[in-house]
Amino acid sequence: MCLGVPGKIIEVNENSTGMTMGRVSFGGIVKEVCLAYTPEAAVGDYVVVHVGFAISQIDEAEAQKVFEFLQEMGELAELDVPQPGETEREADG
């Protein structure tokens, strides 16, 4: 069960029943979201929203790791495989 969309909190408030609510922007579209399950999230933080509820806050540092992973994979690949032109230079030298 899946459709969760990341959005940026632009406002936090409490509704008439004491439930923490917020306004979250998804690329410019703003929607009212219940923030009861992400009590630490503040204005400027990113959350993933499912059926009108923020289910979790996005950890920026962890978010970068996918790209660090790719970077490492790329570097490993370079170590294993001779770069184009290397063998030719060796042959020439």
């Binding site: 899946c2 399950y37 992400t38 059926v51 009108g52 950890d59």
Partner: protein, 362 residues
């Protein structure tokens, strides 16, 4: 869009594909549990980009698909009552019951309305004190906190004309049922990222240990899926098992505590019937006694429901990955998205619908 676009980059995707190709030395069978992941895989074409030794089996992570036929029939019967405003997410409106679906019931005069959030249904109940507002609470653990909050709010604000028809299902028991089956061919799993955002992933550790399978908690964007698939294949090639977390930007091992707390106040675990699979013990949620009065199944007596599945529908085999949609005799002919015989053809997450829409039958 931040945290979306970065995970849809073409060159990054290609690098993952190359890494996967370099890693794989023999055939492997992986299952992505969640229907939303199936959707992304097929929509972005990842399934066709993987090396042929990798087989992706689409799992039963479609709560719409596994909602029992009797419950759909019951929902329609309740919706037809004149005093009822029946509310539901869009996904459920076209799922076929024995004779009709909610949308066709609507065309015949039933007051069926689509909502985005269960809280909208509670508001609707407050605005219509003379009507009964029923909400079709279908979903995995991801949606349970929202449904729990709706019931909790209704209780605290005395919105007594509100009730829910529950069809909540849990992922770990379904995975256990799959893994323990002698027919199981799946060797590695991509666990459902948003389910794990709520529940954490500690529940999968005993499963990984017992059945010696790698389980990788995976997100929903193309790069998430590619990385999840890569991590699972790497583990398989290295003969490792256990739980890893690809979706760490959102998921922690313990999950979301405030959500789990409210869920445990409102819901308790029970046995549940899965359409196409049968009864899986301790695999669902029902309202706790304290909140029983909000149970639509108890509130509305709609008599005996005699549910009849379409005989050609092999949804059960599709849901556990034993068959692929195009292997069904009715696929694309008697069973199409306009005229579905079973849920996997009509649900946005359903394997059959994904195959049909994105041309995998050819």
């Amino acid at each position: 869009m931040k945290y979306v676009d970065e995970y849809r980059g073409e060159s990054e995707a290609q690098r993952f594909v190359q890494a996967i190709e370099a890693t794989v030395t023999r055939p492997w069978s992986l299952m992505e549990v969640c229907g939303g992941q199936t959707h992304t895989l097929i929509k972005s074409g990842i399934d066709r980009m993987l090396p042929s030794q990798v087989t992706l089996v689409h799992g039963p992570g479609c709560p719409v698909c596994v909602t029992p036929l009797e419950l759909i029939d019951r929902a329609i019967a309740i919706a037809r009552r004149p005093e009822v405003i029946f509310t539901s997410f869009g996904d459920m409106l076209r799922v076929p019951g024995s004779h009709a679906d909610l949308l066709s019931a609507k065309s015949e005069g039933a007051d069926v309305r689509m909502v985005y959030s269960p809280l909208d249904a509670v508001t609707l109940a407050q605005q219509n004190p003379d009507q009964q507002v029923v909400f079709f609470a279908v979903g995995f653990e991801t949606t349970a906190p929202a449904n729990a909050m709706a019931v909790h709010q209704a209780a605290h604000q005395g919105v007594n004309n509100f009730s829910i028809l529950t069809s909540h299902v849990l992922v770990p028991p379904a995975m256990e049922a799959l893994l323990s089956s002698p027919d199981n061919l799946v060797q590695g799993f991509l666990a459902a990222g948003h389910v794990c955002a709520i529940m954490g992933f500690w529940e999968y550790e005993p499963l990984a240990e017992k059945y010696k399978v790698p389980i990788v908690v995976t997100g929903f964007e193309p790069l998430d899926l590619l990385q999840g698939i890569y991590m699972t294949l790497e583990a398989l090639e290295e003969e490792r098992w256990g739980v890893e977390n690809q979706y760490a930007r959102l998921v922690v091992r313990e999950g979301n505590q405030p959500a789990q707390n409210l869920m445990s106040q409102v819901f308790e675990i029970c046995d549940r019937k899965w359409r196409g699979i049968g009864e899986v013990p301790m695999s669902g949620y029902r309202l706790k006694e304290k909140f029983e009065r909000f149970d639509a199944e108890k509130r509305f007596d709609v008599g005996d429901i005699d549910a009849q599945e379409a005989p050609e529908c092999i949804a059960g085999e599709i849901l556990v990955g034993v068959k692929k949609p195009h292997e069904c005799s009715a696929f694309g002919t008697k069973c199409t998205p306009e005229r579905p015989l079973g849920a996997p053809m009509v649900s946005a997450e359903g394997a059959c619908a994904a195959y049909f829409q994105y041309g995998r039958g050819e």
